[in-house]
Amino acid sequence: MTAIAPPAPARGGAFKFPGLRKLEQSLLVYRRVWRGTFFGTLVSPVLFLTAMGVALGSLVPNITAFGGVPYLVFLAPGIMSAQAMQTGTVEGSWPLFAGFKWLKTFDAMIATPITVRDIVLGHLYWLFVRLAIVTGVFMVVAFLFGAFRSPTFFLAWPSAILTGVAFGICMSAWTATRKTEQSFSIIFRFVVTPLFLFSGTFFPIEQLPETVRWIAWFTPLFHGVALTRSLAIGHDLDLLTLGIHLAVVLGMIAIGTFFAFKTFKKRLVI
């Protein structure tokens, strides 16, 4: 073919890690809006740990199932995981939907060398960053409350991050299929809140009636909470159990990402 000026490789749009450019966009936006969210990020763990960990915890006997730790120590990693779930799910709903529908920033991106795949990956990177911030702040607050006593407590941080990312990317894949935002609040009411309450966040699932206890094993948050708590408390560090919990969380991320590639593409490439 005697084509004029075939796209020159130097300007051919191929550069390393284009997904990072989507992350840069998220960070630029975050730099504008972080003050609005940071207050909640900081205050939420303080409130929860004060009201439930300290005040309510003073009425609760030490949790024998976890080596007789005080309730505060038991609660902190659970709340941290649950908050990670909530943050991830939020990031996968309204702010993401804006890129599809309200601001159409993704339409602007795919008109450049950035591909749909890069947008998914960039969004995934952003989930990691956002979750690292939120759970990182929680770690510091919980540490100051004296909720960490085990030498392995710092491993609870990546565990909580992964938990939040798992929910975030699955929600994102689903959000890409939505025409309106109406169903998001239903998700929060009927999925996020029940998981928050019954995944071992506030009490060991052994407290649930035996007939329904097994259900917890099939809820995704349970595994994130169990993994994060085991690492934070340093109790029950059975590698097989930990491995199963980790596999479930990583599996959610893999499946969510796989479907996000599909649903984002279906949404944006028409």
Binding site: A3, R21, A111
Partner: protein
């Protein structure tokens, strides 16, 4: 990374292709787009030459935007052949997009960011360094007369300013080809003229422009050549002048009658001018000399409320070709 040559974005936007080969920048043959069973673009053929300002004129729903999205390598075609910048957009989309500037129909600006940040991050999508993106952004903001708004958020800007910012954004990668989908739809007349002025400057610099519009005056002002689209097909092609010469007369007499009178006129207009077109609100009489026809109509005892002689426009071409107005 800043390129070895220190070309400014606006200079580099001038053609970008050596004049040696005048192969078309875009070549479409039998280009088709379907959504399910709905045919949005029905086997159209066209070429766009380097340095040309090429237009798609047609009403809403004619298939203009679908065509633009296929050229822009964001929408796969359903059939036919398409070559953009010498390659297939379905195969080498990212490398084509690296050399395109795109002004979409609806603004896709990041309203959470400032004017300058919008340009910077867009430059990053094209792998520019921040330093390079910033220097280009400052120059482009001056070009679209928004340099005093660099640190303003996007949201408070007027519609015309947002459009100009979108145009600036589309030039950040020094594109070889600029695609504009209804660049002035929704703008007030003053804002439209400002956008036209900037586009006209780009055209004079030799930038290849491809635009869609349903405004005939926009097509006349900006396009060297255009195709008229209707119902997913191309119904005519040529320069604005040649289309008018081919499909219309030199002048048009517009007669507006009092309410109810137009319906009672049957027969009385026959033989006036070369052709008579009755619209719901007025009668158009096509003739080489409009004043002559106006006088003849007066002699017949016709007493319109208003009578206006004007030159033929692309609107008349469209009416002739499709029997309908562009904006309904």
């Amino acid at each position: 990374m800043p390129g070895p040559e220190s070309a400014t974005p606006l200079q580099a936007a001038s053609g970008g292709v050596s004049g040696a080969a005048r192969e078309p920048l875009i070549r479409a043959r039998g280009l088709t787009k379907k959504f399910g069973t709905f045919v949005a673009v029905d086997a159209i053929d066209f070429d766009v030459a380097p340095g040309e300002a090429f237009g798609f004129l047609g009403p809403n729903g004619a298939g203009k935007t679908s065509t633009m999205r296929m050229i822009g390598a964001v929408s796969p075609r359903s059939g036919g052949d398409l070559s953009v910048l010498g390659t297939d957009p379905d195969k080498n989309g990212a490398s084509i997009r690296a050399r395109l500037g795109v002004v979409p129909q609806l603004d896709t600006l990041d309203t959470e960011l400032t004017v300058l940040e919008n340009l910077l991050i867009y430059g990053r999508y094209f792998d520019l360094s921040y330093a390079e993106a910033r220097s280009r952004a400052m120059e482009l903001l001056e070009f679209v007369q928004l340099n005093d708004r660099a640190s303003s958020l996007v949201e408070p800007l007027s519609g015309g300013m947002k459009r100009r910012l979108t145009i600036a954004r589309s030039l950040i990668n020094e594109p070889d080809l600029l695609l504009l989908d209804e660049p002035t739809t929704g703008l007030d007349p003053q804002a439209r003229h400002l956008v036209w002025d900037r586009l006209y400057r780009l055209k004079q610099r030799g930038t290849t422009l491809v635009l869609t519009t349903h405004y005939m005056d926009e097509a006349e002002q900006l396009c060297d050549r255009l195709v008229v689209m209707d119902k997913a097909k191309i119904v005519a092609e040529g320069s604005p002048r040649s289309l008018i010469e081919q499909y219309s007369t030199k002048e048009v007499l517009e007669l507006r009658f009092p309410v109810g009178v137009q319906e009672t006129l049957d027969g009385q207009l026959d033989g006036l001018g070369e052709r008579v077109e009755k619209l719901p609100d007025r009668v158009l009489i096509y003739a080489a000399d409009g004043e002559d026809v106006a006088a003849a109509a007066h002699e017949r005892g016709l007493r319109p409320e208003t009578s206006l002689v004007r030159r033929s426009s692309l609107e008349d071409v469209f009416l002739r070709l499709t029997g309908r107005s562009l904006i309904e």
